[in-house]
Amino acid sequence: MSLPFKKPSILPGFWPAFSYTILYLSLIVLIPLSAVFLKSVTSTWSHLWRVVTSPEVVASYRLSFGASLVAGMISVVVGFLVAWVLVRYQFPGKALADALVDLPFALPTAVAGIALTSLYTENGWLGRYLAPLGIKVAFTPLGVVVALTFIGLPFVVRAVQPVLADADAELEEAAASLGANRWQVFRLVIFPIVRPALLTGFALAFARALGEYGSVIFIAGNMPMKTEITPLLIVTKLEQYDYAGATAIAAVMLTASFLLLLAINALERRTRKFMTMG
């Protein structure tokens, strides 16, 4: 049975598990998603090209990719900090803080959007202190970043946390006994260990942010060319019965996030392999 594509193993169940995985994946994800691509090509190429390169759509790519990138990076920094504190330190209420990290997964995105908007408008709890400083959050690209960070943060924390908890203490001690200072230990020992996890967390946060809809439309203000995210334009196209146009934009986004995820998964695997090799 063993085709060249699989390394032999004494563990049983590869073929049933593999077949089931592929079957279920195809039924729930791949075949439905292919509808997007098949629907988009029901129109002429010139129409599709016009749709995906029209100025509003290009402006929305800029916002969606830009804001997701910034939000992903903030998530990486803040998420790493949170994971570090949760793994390394003891403080009262730690269990609760740990549980709360997952809240953005669980809170309906529309609720998150409404709550964030009410916090950050000029008369909101936070907005009223930011407004005198000249910082406007709600109805600006900054608001989009805030919503996307809310969405992305748990992905990073949950990716880094287990790795940090499992990290071998002896490595750090060895480094210290060889004369490394705290910062060197962090930079040369700890950081390389968590780097793949940070990458995974970033990739997931970024990819999720790219498609996010519910929480963003409330806080974005939805001004054409300025604060319209790409998923909103997909919806707008649908309202005009332009299914081909809508699915064409969707296909562009799908392809982009697929390539991104693929690249980061490969990168992560490579770093992991490199590490285990020594």
Binding site: V51, S54, P55, E56, T117, S118, T121, E122, N123, G124, A138, F139, I217, F218, G221, N222, M223, P224, M225, L232, V235, T236, K237, L238, E239, Q240, Y241, D242, G245
Partner: protein
């Protein structure tokens, strides 16, 4: 229970309800956002009247959302017996894309199949601190206007066309000047929500903007909900006659065997009782008697129709709201 017996019983139940009229008749009314409160009352009144007349119970479900989104759902298979949407273009689309009703649907009921009308008015903050009286005040620098996005909201399309119509009239039909006016107006809009209710929330709850462009019925509802000490309604000198139409979705109703009751349901909207319920919810009645009775509710305003000024919805949609249309140009500069 074995599946076969289950199916047999289900079938028997189904047959029973069809043959002996055992269960209540079910209708689905797919409507746009602002009509929730209206149809809650209409449904109760109609069910009572239908029961008295035929002895049959009728249960009406409601579905609400943006007008175009709702039309699209019906096209994609949402089982609506009747549609009551924000503008004729959306029902035209159902006829065009899914052929669920004939293209001449709008001629089947009186008054362009619109049992009630509305218009576009302004909602301003209490005391009208920015002295907003008419359309010209909306394009003044420093006035912040809240309106939904016309590409996704039916009410917003009426508002956009109302502003355009006003500018045309003021400038003796100069199309260029009208476009300039509308462009200046939308430059004063800081937030484009996707629907009318979203805009009301932005204006009322978030405290953004000096004036909200809204359906008349929505503005009065907001006044009731939010309090007369917070906002007031300003009616401009000239506005558009907004006609939200209704229709039976023939093929769906035929399949459900509900054609008769669906028709009666829509006709009920034209009766004195239906018209009064509409007027109580701030929809302008078509019936002269009911209109006279509720005259004090509605400010006198000069109204123009979309057919007069824009040559109908198909043309207006194509020129102004389709991709690359006049509305898009505003933001491209």
């Amino acid at each position: 229970m074995k599946p076969t017996t289950f199916f047999k019983r289900a079938l028997a139940l189904l047959a029973g309800s069809v043959l002996f009229g055992a269960g209540p008749v079910k209708l689905l009314n797919v409507s746009y956002d602002p009509t929730r409160e209206l149809y809650q009352d209409i449904n109760a009144a109609f069910a009572k009247q239908w029961k008295a007349k035929t002895g049959v119970d009728v249960e009406i479900s409601q579905s609400h959302g943006g007008s175009s989104k709702q039309a699209r759902s019906v096209i994609d298979g949402l089982q609506a017996d009747v549609v009551t949407l924000g503008l004729a273009y959306d029902i035209d689309s159902i006829a065009e894309h899914a052929h669920l009703l004939p293209a001449n649907w709008q001629t089947r009921l009186p008054n362009n199949s619109t049992p009630y009308t509305s218009t576009i008015v302004f909602l301003v903050r209490h005391g009208n601190p920015k002295h907003i009286k008419d359309w010209d005040d909306l394009v003044r620098p420093g006035v912040s206007v809240i309106a939904p996005n016309p590409k996704s909201s039916g009410g917003a399309r009426w508002a956009y066309l109302a502003a355009w119509g006003y500018a045309l009239k003021k400038n003796n039909g100069d199309d260029k000047k009208a476009q300039e006016f509308v462009t200046r107006l939308y430059k004063n809009v800081p937030v484009l929500d996707s629907g009318a209710r979203g805009s009301t929330t932005t204006f009322a709850q978030r405290g953004i903007g000096d004036v909200l462009l809204d359906w008349e019925n929505e503005a009065f509802l907001a006044l009731d909900e939010l309090g007369k000490d917070k906002v007031e309604v300003v009616t401009p000198s000239l506005s558009i006659l907004a006609e939200p139409p209704v229709s039976v979705v023939d093929r769906v109703a035929a399949k459900h065997g509900t054609t008769q009751v669906a028709k009666a349901y829509l006709e009920f909207l034209y009766t004195a009782e239906g018209q009064e319920i509409g007027a109580r919810h701030y929809y302008r009645p078509r019936s002269p008697e009911v209109a006279a009775k509720y005259a004090s509710r509605f400010a006198k305003v000069q109204l123009f129709t979309i057919d007069e000024v824009f040559g109908g919805w198909q043309k207006a949609q194509k020129r102004h709201f389709d991709d690359g249309g006049v509305f898009d140009q505003i933001y491209l500069r």
